[in-house]
Amino acid sequence: MTDETMTVFIVDDDESIREALLNLLESEGLSARLFASTEAFLDEWSEQMAGCLVLDVRLPGASGVELQEKLIAAGIRIPIIFMTAHGDVPMVRKVMKAGAVEFLSKPFQREELLTAIQQAFNLEREIASERAERRAIEERMATLSPREVEVLELVTEGMLNKQIAGALEISEITVKLHRRKVMEKMRANSLAELVKMTERIRKGPIR
């Protein structure tokens, strides 16, 4: 499961736990980086950091849960694996709902952690490919002229050519021309594909 591009970011205030996790991950051939607090992690954070977070729920200063909230608010999507020494059920529910990959109770089994990391990496890859795909769509969209963007919006809303011509006060033939241009520029084979692309963009920026 080695993946040189992926790093496990460990945030725990207990040095011996950090070291043990580092040791385990190294023995599995994974690279890891250690942080003593959520603040330290945020200070270091950059867009190039791909991988997953292994986060202690309770930390001095801003807790793990708070970090999760902050990341979501900032639109940063990085898979999070939570660790805790206490089986805190409401908290488990909360963080899982907010999109955590796994919730591990200390001490945890090797497989539990590795499986969770695997899942997180997969998720991260998905996110990355989605991100890449989106970026491509955005790039393609950027090549559209303002009129073509208007046509694209109305088309994906499900309007017919005639209706679009009416709305934009242009001829139906002109609409058809713009539409073909849009399909070409967006490299869409069908209307359905075009709709899917725009929906992906509408979800908003991810990072």
Binding site: I17, A20, L21, L24, S27, A85, P107
Partner: protein, 512 residues
Amino acid sequence: MFSAEEFFVWLFRLVLKPFAAAGAFVLVAFLWTLLLQQILVYPLVFLFLCAVMGSTWFAGRMAGLFAVILSSFCVAFFFIPPVFSFAIDRSSKSYLIAYIVSAFAAAIVTSMKRRTEGMIRHARDELELRVAERTAELEKSYRELQRRERELRELTEAIPQQIWSAAPDGTFEYCNQHLLTLVGRTDSELRGNQFLELFHEEDREHFAAAWKAAIFGGERLEGEWRICCAGQKYRWFLVRALPQRTADGTITRWYGALIDVDDRERVQQQLARTQSEFARLSRVLSMGEMAVSIAHEINQPLTAVVTHGYACLGWLRAEPPNLEKARSTTQKIVDEGTRAGAVVQRIRALFSRDTMPRESVDINAVIREMARLLRDTSLRQETRIRLQLAGGLPPVEIDRVQMQQVLLNLAVNGMEAMSAITGRRRELLIGTSLGPSGEILVRVEDSGAGIAPEDAERVFDPFYSTKEGGIGVGLSICRSIIEAHEGRLWTEPRPGGGSIFQFTVPVDAHDR
């Protein structure tokens, strides 16, 4: 003016009585002389001299005078020729004159003798009287003394206390009946130094030393020792003795008393037991609050052990096995396992009933350890614990567990005091510093609602609590622990809101 009666008394005393006496003596002399006249030829006038002397002796000068006169007439009439006539022939004249002179002389001498005799008698009588008076006086004061002594004795016997006295050198002299009854021995069984046997075997030496010190130093004796009572039961007594001194300061005697303090002593011991039981209870209660922290504290090294264990397996499984990594990882497992063991031991000590022996420790280390134990509680309370520990503090001799308990109590109280705070930072400050007289000062500051000045002392009262569900023994136990360490625990308001709980810990004497 003389009354008639006085006149007769005077007449009787001065005239009639001497006259009668003189008459009687002269008559006797006359009769005897008449009788002897028949046998002897020579007129025996010396009997008349005897009569004069007798009259004077027995009836005084007046009687003597009368006797001289009467006898002179008698001699002149009856015995000087011519007999039976007052006429005296020439040859007898000198004889009569000689007689009269002798009679006068006899009367004067006798009178003087009698007077001297009378004076002596008078003096003797006076002396006797004085002696009698003095004797009576002495007798009276002796009786008074006896009465006093009896009263004193009755007093010492009546006082429901054990009273005793001892000679200046400390040998036992007297004790009252109460003491004898108490110890079930006779007076003679306590004489000398035998009374030492009354003391409990373990106390005897200590008492003897204290008694000796009191005797040689001339200081009062005071102490509590166990004394064997009748029935071979030992009871605690407060033994006190004071020296009685003369004007120049020499000790003449020791007076002492025994006061039964056994019940008090027992109550105190019971109290101490109850208190330590309470202390344990409160420790357990506060430990209950700390259970999550404890679980976390043990779980951390355990997690590290397990994780390192997996890592070690990973290093061994590699092709080829990474033995260097496996070795260092195993070392870490050992370290973490040891750490977990230490945590368990520490917690067990907190729960234990035993009082730990005092050890010389760095108070800052104790505080850091406490802060670590409080980590989880502080996270739950959303409070930050800030340590402000002075460096270079001398070690203190303390019961580590008890000191942790005090810190724990103060810290948890402080955090709870701040639980109502919203919108501002909750920070608990634990600080150490060196006090003005070399003692160590530990303070726990919170920024909560604070304590009203009138409650500042009440919070240390047992069973006084402002917390819901609190039993109110925490702070009172904290105070007794600190006082047992010869320190002081108090509270004062914190400038800017909240309260400061401070306590002092004396530094080890040999380090000062």
